[in-house]
Symmetry: C2
Subunit: 166 residues, 2 copies
């Protein structure tokens, strides 16, 4: 049984039958990798800045489409992750795109509250750059692109474990 | 032995010693996954559009940093992939960023020639969108966001095998 507001993932995701269907067709037929995940890049809909690169399983992609709010699969915590459930920094999806071979998703979002998306406290997870080519004074050195944090992670997350794994 | 123009990957990539070093430090200490890969999102430096989501192994990240041109690891062909070597659509890196836990890379690039980055012929690999939330007239239907192809893949790639896998 399916309906418009809550289709099952079987109704939402078509089987992958041919390269032509996947690349040139109008059916959503996502490819989940051997871990059951699809990569997702999330950008700020207004500035275009890349906020984060996350992963979704079938349920996370389905819930993102159904609710219009970004859901991911947390690889470190191994749980479905409604972004902003703890921090309040919910990501409202303005547009969801899928790539040519349908193994990657692009979300354009508006972020609630302070507008931050990074658990370290910065606006974007990509707050450091690496010099390339002729610009390498010191190979492998990182330079910060955001001068200060947008929020205090200790205050927002308390003693929840840090999701970064070595 | 290392030098400024061609550091070894050992000189370029620091070992991952602590969460503080990885998140707050100024050393490039990338995390390659169980396949030896790091995810990479590539955007057009001028428009901000997401062009593609690819993967790099150690060598691809090293060559990208050293040459200032995007290199990836082709998962379908299992080879180091200097983007544009066949098509001429080389990606010149304006900026390379790394994320908080250093398991994802963001490249801001200028693309040579027609400016396209997608093997299907479109400018971006993300040429189709999916309606979300209340906007779903037909769940799972894809809508094209680019009206026409930028180049003819048959002419550019000849009979090279299509990289899309089902």
């Amino acid at each position: 049984m399916t309906n418009r507001t809550s289709p099952s993932s079987e109704a939402l995701f078509a089987p992958r039958l041919s390269i032509e269907q996947v690349e040139e067709g109008d059916q959503l037929a996502p490819k989940f990798d051997e871990r059951g995940l699809i990569a997702c890049v999330t950008t700020d809909a207004a500035s275009g800045e890349v906020l984060m690169l996350g992963y979704m399983n079938r349920e996370a992609l389905q819930k993102t489409i159904q609710t219009g709010e970004a859901h991911y699969w947390s690889r470190s915590r191994q749980v479905l992750w409604h972004k902003g459930a703890t921090s309040g920094l919910v990501q409202a999806v303005e547009e969801l795109r899928i790539d040519d071979d349908q193994d990657a998703v692009w979300l354009r979002v508006r972020v609630a509250g302070s507008g931050a998306s990074c658990h370290v406290g910065y606006r974007s997870c990509f707050y450091r750059r690496v010099a390339v080519g002729a610009g390498q004074a010191q190979p492998g050195a990182l330079m910060f692109t955001e001068a200060e944090k947008t929020f205090d992670p200790g205050r927002v997350y308390g003693d929840a474990p840090n999701p970064t794994l070595l």
